[in-house]
């Protein structure tokens, strides 16, 4: 039996294929490893199936083309990797303020600087705290499998439209390059195309002109816009948090990890459990909004948290804010494109447990 919806694909290609199936009308991008497959796949397959695909002169240009096309009412996206995403920050700030829906994919590579093309999570702060100037947020989705590389494209476009907000898929080169089975969901873009009465499509005589802008020169007006954005972000935080909890029912310790690292951490959980350590895993699927409440709740009944990331310790700050000192929070990270092994994570877990025991002993 052949099913057109089930395929064996690379993460980057699954993501690109999902974009076509999600009815993405236009893609603007610039080549950079490890995500060029997205541009290449869309240039070939996307164009064949009616997508507008333009290789821009830079990431600065691509994000501003996204701005124009989204403002013109289209479902649009761009993708890049860390240095290119840095170049897009000004544009993203304008897009967030102008409340333009779009999807931006960051296939995170190791930095800072030109860095390395190996996987990294070094762009967590940039992705979740705004990244460009001013008070704004992107909705940030963190896939951990080729399946989610595809799923989060559909979800990302829907969320972008629902909130008129840019959505970022934050992933890495390993997920982009690995091949896995993926099943594309039934999705008819026609059912997911909201009316956009605000779009610049040419002003008919019977409606006032539409203006896409992020310029509000009166401070009172600018504050009003900010309050509106903040209210939107609160609503997003209340409604759109997504995470996966594994082996947590009887857990005394929790590992928090996202994306590729969460897969490795899950193996570490299995190894630790073989040694009798009762540990579970919390895997945020949305990095913004961050699953703070879930973590706060867990912190009431566990003894410690280990955060594992491919960076110098970024998400761990959000973990600490959620745990609020209830239990110790430790961090283990590798940088520069190095992927931590399950054994390293178990070792880091041992350290957390030993420290915990020592602290408890001190307390008595």
């Amino acid at each position: 039996m052949s099913n057109d919806n089930i395929k064996l694909m690379k993460g980057n290609e699954a993501l690109a294929e999902a974009a076509i199936r999600a009815g993405c009308q236009a893609y603007f991008g610039y080549p950079i490893t490890p995500q060029s497959e997205i541009l290449e796949y869309l240039t070939d397959e996307g164009r064949k199936r009616g997508m507008i695909v333009l290789q821009a002169e830079s990431e600065v240009a691509s994000i501003n083309m996204v701005y124009g096309a989204s403002g013109a009412g289209a479902r649009v996206m761009t993708s890049s990797s860390s240095p290119g995403i840095s170049l897009m920050q000004e544009g993203l700030s304008y897009i967030a303020c102008g409340e333009l829906p779009c999807l931006v994919v960051n296939v995170n590579r190791g930095g800072p600087g030109l860095g390395t093309i190996q996987p990294s999570q070094g762009d967590y702060f940039q992705a979740t705290k705004g990244g460009g100037h001013g008070d704004y947020r992107l909705i940030v989705l963190a896939p951990a499998s080729v399946q989610e590389m595809a799923d989060f494209v559909f979800d990302g476009f829907d969320l972008a439209d629902k909130y008129r907000n840019p959505v970022m898929i934050l992933t890495d080169g390993a997920l982009g390059q690995m091949m896995e089975k993926v099943e594309f969901r039934e999705y008819d873009p026609k059912d997911h195309t909201p009316v956009k009465p605000w779009a610049t499509t040419g002003k008919p005589a019977d409606r006032p002109r539409n203006i896409i802008t992020s310029l509000h020169i009166q401070p009172e007006k600018m504050e009003e816009i900010n309050l509106h954005l903040q209210a939107k972000y609160r609503k997003i935080s209340e409604t759109e948090v997504r995470y996966e909890l594994m082996d947590a029912d009887d857990a005394e310790f929790i590992i928090v990890a996202y994306g590729l690292v969460a897969r490795i951490a899950h193996r570490a959980v299995e190894l630790a459990r073989e040694q009798g350590i009762r540990v579970g895993l919390l895997r945020p699927q949305t990095l913004y909004p961050f699953p703070s409440k879930a973590l706060t709740g867990l912190a009431e009944r566990i003894q410690g948290v280990l955060t594992v990331e491919m960076n110098a310790g970024q998400m761990v700050e959000d973990v600490r804010l959620a745990v609020e000192g209830r239990v110790p929070v430790e961090f283990y990270g590798r940088m520069g494109g190095i992927i931590p092994s399950p054994e390293e994570i178990v070792k880091a877990l041992d350290k957390l447990i030993r420290k915990n025991v020592a602290q408890t002993a001190e307390a008595y």
Partner: protein, 260 residues
């Protein structure tokens, strides 16, 4: 204008025959431009052509960062405000989605020939079917009169207080001539708005540009050599005279590239 003066002249105006009207597509909002500035006239001509061609409902404009950042207050059409230098990239995005609509960007010399040079060149090189209106006043008006890529040699600005020198700042950039060398450029013209005759030429150029856009011929690029009385520290009259005497030799008006 103060309200007292308006109170005085409005009854007079009411008794006069109207022989020259504001185009419908120009809003009633009072322009914020300095007295004598060319932006207002350029806005007017652009809207007048749009009205005459009857394309206001099919036209989407892109306003720049610069003195004309509020262009959308005056142009009664759908518009997008772009980040500094990115107007032609934004226009590209719009045009790709609405290939049958008319799209123009409106940009200053800092916007188009400094921070946005790459976007300008590549938009024209792709032959995007848009109109780029380039207002060259040889200075950064909005930020208070700093040197622009088009600032003339020896011209004084706040960042070339003793006059622009080649040693520190290179040469006045003739980006319009550069753009004209690209095959994607279909029609390139340099105009001005300082005399009624000049306005008529500009009007013709813009009309042609929209016609070519309709026929999907490629990028049309119209430079308007303009003034900046405030930045140049001159009266409007002095500014226009100075422009003719000093700008025109470097940036001579006329059609630079016309269809064969």
């Amino acid at each position: 204008m103060s309200t007292e003066i308006l109170d005085l002249i409005e009854p007079e105006i009411a008794n006069m025959d109207c022989v020259y009207e504001k185009p419908d597509t120009l809003t009633d909002m009072r322009l914020h431009y300095c007295p004598g500035c060319g932006h207002g006239v350029a806005h007017r001509v652009l809207m007048e052509v749009i009205d005459e061609l009857g394309i206001a409902e099919q036209t989407i404009g892109v306003a720049p960062v610069g003195c004309s950042v509020f262009a959308y207050h005056y142009m009664n059409i759908d518009m997008q405000e772009a980040a500094h230098g990115r107007a032609s990239a934004v226009a590209t995005g719009i045009k790709r989605i609405h290939p049958d609509k008319y799209v123009f960007s409106y940009q200053g010399d800092g916007d188009l020939a400094a921070i946005g040079t790459a976007e300008t060149i590549h938009t024209v090189n792709r032959g995007e079917n848009i109109l780029v209106v380039f207002i060259n006043n040889a200075i950064y008006g909005m930020t208070g009169g700093q040197m622009a890529p088009t600032t003339l040699l020896n011209m004084k600005t706040t960042t070339s207080p003793a006059g622009r020198t080649v040693e520190t700042a290179g040469f006045p950039m003739k980006i319009t001539e550069m753009v004209a060398t690209l095959p994607g450029a279909y029609y390139v013209s340099r105009n001005s708005v300082h005399t009624p005759n000049a306005v008529r030429y500009l009007k013709k150029a813009i009309t042609k540009a929209f016609q070519y856009q309709k026929e999907k011929k490629g990028t049309c690029f119209i430079e308007v050599v303009s003034n900046c009385p405030s930045g140049w520290k001159m009266t409007p009259l002095q500014a226009n005279k100075w422009m003719e005497e000093n700008m025109f030799p470097i940036y001579p008006p006329g059609e630079i590239k016309v269809p064969k």
